[in-house]
Symmetry: C2
């Protein structure tokens, strides 16, 4: 490996080839949720696409001559499924795209922006905003995650209902293939039917088919006003009914529809007693559900509020809302979002729990939750369910917390395996997905091989084999090769 490392140093400069003997690699080797730590042969920090291509060529040559090296692309290292940290072998090279963080071009008249893979999501948002436009992808890690990682994992977030997942926001990509060639697919086109859609194949492939080095992304007109409302609904069936009603009346104005069960807000009230949670007594009583709705309006704030008022009136009439408040200021809208965004931290403070990032056909969510809640509570009395998420996308973060007073650590050791199995079997039964927006990584490889149809799995394997015959890119992620 020494020959490879010295060739890499010559290529990138010694300062950009970090090695465990000389450097602290923990930021690259340790995942965001601290569920695992690997050991890298080196961390590379190329500055350009040709450098990425040259790195891949050197590694491919080394591998062809019998060395065990492979490449793990990494952006902001905020992934939740151990997809971007090295394994324990000490033979994997982490290829950090973090220095490739430039906005290459904004074309406002074409509503498109071209950015390098290492660009922070927040910077893309800001650059769009500076040009008077909107880049709608928005998620908790946006200050740290990079657009390359968002593309690699097809990230979701809070605006999917209106704007789609990351793949839906991408017009074209530039990437490096396993032979170390640059594949030029940047594009400012809304329509282009010239052959197989390699862009969509690379997006969501978690760095296993190629390394995305840049992308052209869609921009959108910026709303004049964003107003939120907070509704107390009698249960999940009512929440689904409210969603249908809100979509019929507000159409694409409805940019957020977030569900929170009572316990998820109860935990917020406990951990952050300074926060004002609407309908606090109903939260404590524990029966109702709560919905945060966001309306993006292109006329005015007053118009947005009028439309919300009309919706609330109809929803009250039909009984799918018990009560609702409409934010009267930007500050109030932000405060509502802050409550929703406080749930992950609050549940962490409550102690580690068993997390599921699942999706379901929206129509099946009430029955899925009723059955699965009952099933889990029967198996383990007094467990607590933190159930929240992007109901508008059918995406729930369905998390299982130990009974009150129990040791969370012991609970996880004892129950994580069979609770996961029980939840995923239920998900499969209702036509859902065991990974809605987080991807597969190392963490869910077994689930993929269990729940994908054998023919689909075989197709994936044949594509991997065709595009990365040396298994150079992120081996063992997504597919157990």
């Amino acid at each position: 490996m020494e020959a490879l490392l010295s060739a890499l140093r010559e290529l990138l400069g010694s300062a950009h080839v970090l090695t465990p003997d000389a450097d602290d690699l923990s930021a690259y080797e340790q995942d965001w949720r601290k569920r695992g730590r690997g050991r890298a042969l080196a961390v590379l920090r190329p500055a350009s696409t040709p450098q990425v291509a040259a790195v891949v060529k050197l590694c491919a040559l080394a591998k062809a001559s019998g060395q065990a090296v492979s490449i793990v692309p990494q952006g902001g290292n905020t992934g939740l499924v151990l997809g971007s940290i090295p394994d324990a072998s000490g033979a994997q090279i982490v290829l950090s795209l973090s220095r490739m963080n430039q906005v290459r071009q904004i074309d406002a008249a074409n509503a498109a922006i071209t950015v390098e893979a290492g660009c922070l999501l927040a910077h893309v948002q800001q650059a769009a905003d500076d040009a008077g436009l909107l880049f709608p992808l928005s998620l908790a890690a946006e200050g740290t995650c990079t657009i390359g990682g968002n593309l690699g994992t097809n990230a979701g977030g809070t605006q999917v209902l209106r704007y789609g997942n990351t793949r839906d926001l991408c017009l074209g990509i530039e990437w490096v293939n396993a032979a170390g060639e640059v594949v030029q697919g940047l594009s400012g086109l809304r329509k282009d039917n010239t052959g197989y859609d390699l862009r969509h194949l690379l997006i969501g492939s978690e760095g296993t088919l190629g390394i995305i080095t840049a992308a052209t992304l869609k921009l959108f007109p910026k709303p004049v006003a964003r107003v939120t409302a907070w509704a107390q609904v009698p249960g999940l069936a009512a929440a689904v009914q409210l969603l249908g009603l809100a979509q019929a009346q507000l159409a694409s104005g409805l940019t957020g529809f977030e569900l929170m069960n009572a316990f998820s807000l109860d935990v917020v009230m406990k951990q952050s007693p300074q926060l004002r949670v609407p309908f606090a007594s109903a939260v404590r009583a524990g029966d109702a559900c709560f919905v945060l709705l966001e309306l993006s309006d292109f006329e005015s704030e007053a118009h947005a509020r009028q439309r919300f008022e009309a919706l609330v009136e109809t929803a009250l009439e039909r009984g799918c809302i018990e009560d609702a408040v409409i934010a009267e200021s930007i500050a109030q809208s932000k405060a509502m979002w802050h409550l929703r965004e406080s749930i992950p931290m609050a549940q962490a403070q409550e102690g580690p729990n068993i997390k599921h990032d699942i999706s379901l056909p929206i129509s099946h969510i009430p029955e899925f939750c009723e059955q699965t809640d009952t099933l889990l509570r029967k198996a383990i009395p007094h467990i607590r369910l933190v159930n929240f998420g992007h109901l508008g996308d059918g995406n729930l973060h369905y998390n299982v917390q130990c009974p009150p007073g129990a040791s969370a650590a012991a609970f996880l050791v004892e129950h994580e395996g069979h609770i996961n199995t029980a939840v995923y079997e239920q998900v499969a039964k209702f036509g859902g997905s065991f990974s809605a927006e987080h991807g597969v990584g190392q963490l869910k490889v077994a689930e993929l091989s269990r729940y994908k149809s054998p023919a689909a799995l075989a197709a994936m394997q044949s594509i991997k084999q065709a595009m990365d015959p040396q298994n150079l890119f992120n081996p063992g992620r997504v597919l157990a090769l």
Copy 2:
């Protein structure tokens, strides 16, 4: 081949294995625009997905034993690039999906519909409408084309600006692979990050990687009102400026933005003198361009008109509109669409021309047209340009008509090749695509190999090889294999 045909007859019933000796195959062998006619070994009309799978298995076996058979999937046979008719060899089997035309399921609460591949687009639209929802894909052939063909070619149409191409409307597909296995990928999920996106790989692959047998499609809320406006703009730069303004003010309410140059409407006036074309004298004068805008509103028709009025006011102030009319009734809106939709027929009546289905970054369209118009007019004085299309998507139908009085047939023979080359070179120079929404088929295989980067082309070839190693599916389409 007799053994294969008799096995197919046993499988499907003799009535569903049509052969040239006994049946008139012209509807299957001749393309829509009558640009080519092939010769089929047989036309198969399976009734179910298992039958499709069994057909593929039989053909794969025959091919493995040395017979030259291959399979050309066909829907409504309305394609424009010779992608779904057989070649001249007499060894290709046309697999017509037309009997598989059922709506399998509508799930209104999940805003999704599952249909078989042979379902007519118009029937999908109707089924959605009956459920109080909208399936927005809309194009000229909608009464004849099938959803399988729309998916295979990733069809575009008039609502792409708001709703995207066919691929953006599809949640999941069921398909048959080259081994004759059914790959179950139907899904009612908005988010699902579990491995490579085979759906997007199959969509737009024009039947070369697998046969789509069914799909789950997204449905949308139905607008309360659809209102159109018709604007006279001083030129293409103004049209692009108007688009930006309309998007900023109307956002996703803007569901159509169609450009027509003066000559394209002049031809309509000539061929259909009974039609009332707005701003007729400006059409005759020939300098202006015209734009049809469509606004889909979820409040009321009056609200839609108010919003259009505000837009027109601003646009007049900024000089990007010279004049405009807003439709005052549904009939007037329909009449405006009818004018736009009369262009293809009117230009055909004017005589055959050289067609280009191109896309460009919207910001580059004015300069592209200025340069390309000049270049072509210099090369061939007095040629006439029928330039119209979906400007909101950057998609132009940029068609070249012979000089007045010249023989169109002789003009095509003499000039088609080098005019195509000149136009496509210009398209490439401006970062555009030589096939925006029609696909590649047999017609544009040479363009694909010329304008795709070699690395992208190699990736496509390796995927084709991996997924269809016998080259059983639609050989010679998309890729020259």
